[in-house]
Symmetry: C2
Subunit: 220 residues, 2 copies
């Protein structure tokens, strides 16, 4: 079965990005600290076409994140920032050879033709909502899983709608003190989390949950 | 060296208590779910004078929490709720034989004589601030550690003041959606967290950090 999986980094005080996010600093002040554990990993660097890096307890987590993924979804800010329509010449933040290597469905309000880049990544722009994006991603994934890449707003929308099957939170040892809260705006969705594992790794703790929707109480 | 240690439970969305806290429901709606992993433990039940319970991966964590503690500190709400002065007859929420078995220093604005209960617990009421409470607790601890029992407000004040040496956060697999945020109001204190360990246990993930104050930038 094709599952919808989320892997996302969070500060101990609950932020997925630091304060004062901007086009110049999309992760916000201090936000890069959430990803230091990943940036040093061989498994992560390979996916991004870089050499070197460590093998440690996070390696299995990163490899699992990239395995059996047929398509992914991301919010508009994660593709390319800004709040209006993108100029058609704007190819997002991910360079000529993005690290996805599969079809990526971008949630936006502004229609745009698909953007095919090197290495197997094609960005598709979806304007008719999160459920449509998931349907299109599932169709493109050919039975493999769909990964929700982020950001926080997209994570919240999919969680609130009860569409997420697995949630992997990588908690970085830092207080950001402000920014974009990862788990706001869930709207009292009747979500049940079951802890699958917690992994002690250098500079990060990974906690994996299976997510289901409780039938009792509240909307389904 | 006598350290100041915090052990506290938190929901995945960052709350140390649920919404609508009251004298009748001090943990707020759903807040008891943060402590289910502890309530089932033999090590926890013994400390509270109860029989039975499990031995599992949380046992070492709970035993470590209770070991080498000479005194503890708690906020006023954690002692007995309400917002005004307590009636001298009000002995708090902890019964005749509280689970502390050592001197406990309660942060409050209202002076009161010490309250000696069974089993070695004496509540001392401190009206001259968090640093005074820590000094008094350290003196009473006789070289052992001092534990900060909570709640969230006291945790925030001690963290912001750079007085905490160790922080153990037990993350329960639940979204509370509201309530008392554990790591608000740190005021940009220049705290450095170092992850010491992460422990995968039934229904909870424990992450232990050592806490230091960064010398660069901001007030010390």
């Amino acid at each position: 079965m094709s599952r919808l999986r989320i892997s996302i980094a969070m500060s101990l005080d609950g932020f997925a990005a630091g304060p004062d996010q901007s086009v110049e600093n999309p992760l916000g002040v201090g936000g890069m600290q959430l990803h230091e554990w990943a940036l040093r990993l061989k498994a992560f660097r390979e996916q991004h076409g870089q050499e070197g890096g460590e093998v440690n307890a996070s390696t299995r987590i990163a490899e699992g994140h990239f395995a059996n993924v047929g398509a992914s979804i991301m919010g508009r800010k994660m593709f390319g920032g800004g709040s209006g329509a993108w100029d058609e010449s704007w190819r997002g933040w991910w360079g000529d050879n993005p690290p996805y290597h599969h079809p990526v469905f971008v949630l936006t309000h502004h229609p745009r033709e698909p953007l095919e880049l090197e290495g197997g990544t094609t960005f598709h722009f979806v304007t008719d909502g999160i459920e449509s994006a998931l349907e299109q991603a599932r169709a493109a994934a050919g039975g493999k899983d769909v990964v929700l890449n982020g950001g926080a707003s997209a994570v919240q929308q999919y969680l609130a709608a009860g569409l997420v099957d697995e949630l992997l939170v990588s908690i970085a040892p830092v207080f950001l003190g402000g920014g974009e809260r990862l788990f706001d705006n869930l709207g009292g969705a009747p979500l049940a989390l079951e802890q699958v594992e917690a992994v002690d790794a250098p500079g990060v703790a990974h906690i994996r949950y299976s997510v289901t929707t409780r039938s009792e109480g509240g909307a389904s």
